[in-house]
Symmetry: C2
């Protein structure tokens, strides 16, 4: 295998109550990348489509992750890499995570699956350091494992795959404004009342129970974020109206995807998810802000060969 | 049915990471109560064994809960009630909850199951108000539903039953010192860093995943409490030594039962649970403090007829 093409899914991190601990992967939105083995040890990014990202391998998360893995595995080949970004950086849909995790998955394929998913997550987290300054796991883990994931612990890193009911469908609106992850993190309070924390972890318990038990009402009741959303929603135009319209259209729950500005909804079934998309569209079409709406199943697998 | 005898299980609330949100019921430890219908509307507590509790019906949680239910259901009978407490109030094992929830269950039997478990939990919570000043749900819900429960929300009250792997066995040591629930609540910080809260809810997610997936290692890894245990353990003599000895003897995890002073361990299988009991005994037998050690399966049902 000298050349492979991979698909790396977009991901929704936090999932309301699961702030900094949960994420899920989308089926129908993500990046494509082509990796070709070369005889020299050089890593070259030869094409980038869809985003304005650096071609220098040591400044691009793709190059950083590939370099780490080739060095760790002490192989004598290099890579030419073509990147097709199908959703924008700064969307809150795990753009850098798709680059990092997709690379980890792809290089592992070229290394004949030397590493397991946990090790791939650790490599990809180093890409997140390059992209946003901290080794965040929720997006990259969702992108590698697929489905819903829980980052149970960072030290030691412990990723738990949560079963994903196939009826769950995501609707996402991406207003074309940029919110830097760092900025979005600043507005989240540094400490919270214990009562608020209890309410939040009770909902994490409810969401995970709902996913295991395929209890869609419970999933919906649990999709509440008392910690980040009250502050971050102020950075997203029309958030409250979008949420209200989506809930009225039948969404189980609505929240901010990652650090925003994308807003996600989960619905039971494709019909409901499309109605939610229409409701979101109704709010934004009058706004004067450019936006894209996606409707996607939840991907039960992570990054994959195409 | 004019006379019934019920068993109301002891319960472990909090379950480490699930502070104020989770609980489970024991199979082999609990109170017995006998309820007899009478022709007058009076509620009389005719016997109390095993604890020094008030006979006046309006000062005893049993009488309070029974009165509420008879009034709500507008029946024209009264009750004579005999109470056999088989574990002490102030143990951290839900003594008042067993009284309250056992009463709710028993009176409902005499009312031909007029109320569902959620309604019974609400009645029993009023007993908790009488006992400790606040309408706490975790112990009473575990006592009514059985197995592991999650209090997902108080307003509206939402109780989620979590599957309980039959291999799980609890070992409990009850040092015969009293810690008032109110005192134990005071030492818990009013606010916590968001980072701590995230670590806690990641473990709630891990514990609930482990219970659904019968993943005992994951259950064990998730039994960590960053919020209450660091302060409350200081109120419990030899807590750290008991925890260390129990873990070395093979416990999956160890924590404070409710607000203490009882310490619980969860183990996979009865053999391991008994080894944990021996390890706990080794620490306390030299302490000069009276104590009782219980080994019990987790009750998959709550209060029941006997």
């Amino acid at each position: 295998m000298n050349q492979i093409k991979v698909f790396a899914p977009a991901t929704v991190a936090n999932v309301s109550c699961g702030y900094d601990a949960m994420g899920f992967a989308l089926s129908e939105l993500g990046d494509d990348m082509v990796f070709t083995k070369t005889a020299t040890k050089a890593i070259r990014i030869t094409e980038i489509h869809g985003a304005d990202l650096p071609f220098e391998a040591d400044k691009n998360v793709v190059g950083v992750v590939a370099r780490l893995m080739l060095e760790d595995s002490q192989v004598d080949f290099g890579l030419d890499i073509k990147i097709h970004k199908n959703f924008k950086p700064g969307s809150g849909l795990g753009s850098s995570a798709a680059s990092a995790a997709g690379t980890a998955y792809a290089v592992n394929q070229l290394l004949e699956s030397k590493y397991d998913n946990l090790q791939l997550t650790k490599f990809a987290m180093q890409g997140e350091v390059t992209a946003c300054g901290s080794a965040i796991a929720d997006n990259v883990a969702a992108c590698i494992y697929g489905g819903f994931i829980l980052v149970r612990s960072y030290d030691p890193l412990d990723i738990v795959s949560i079963p994903t009911p196939s009826e769950l469908v995501a609707t996402i609106i991406h207003p074309q404004i940029e919110i830097k992850t760092e900025e979005a993190r600043k507005v989240v309070p540094k400490s919270i009342p214990v009562k608020t924390a209890i309410a939040q972890w009770a909902n994490v318990g409810g969401l995970i129970s709902g996913l295991y038990a395929r209890d869609f009402d419970l999933i919906g009741r649990s999709l509440i974020d008392y910690v980040a959303e009250p502050e971050r929603k102020l950075l997203i135009p029309h958030f409250t109206n979008v949420k209200e319209a989506a809930m009225n259209a039948g969404a189980l729950g609505v929240g901010i995807s990652g650090s925003g500005p994308s807003i996600f909804a989960l619905s039971k079934g494709m019909f409901a998810a499309k109605q939610v998309a229409e409701a979101m569209n109704t709010i934004y079409e009058k706004s004067g802000i450019d936006y894209i709406i996606y409707v996607s199943n939840i991907s039960k697998t992570g990054a994959r060969l195409i």
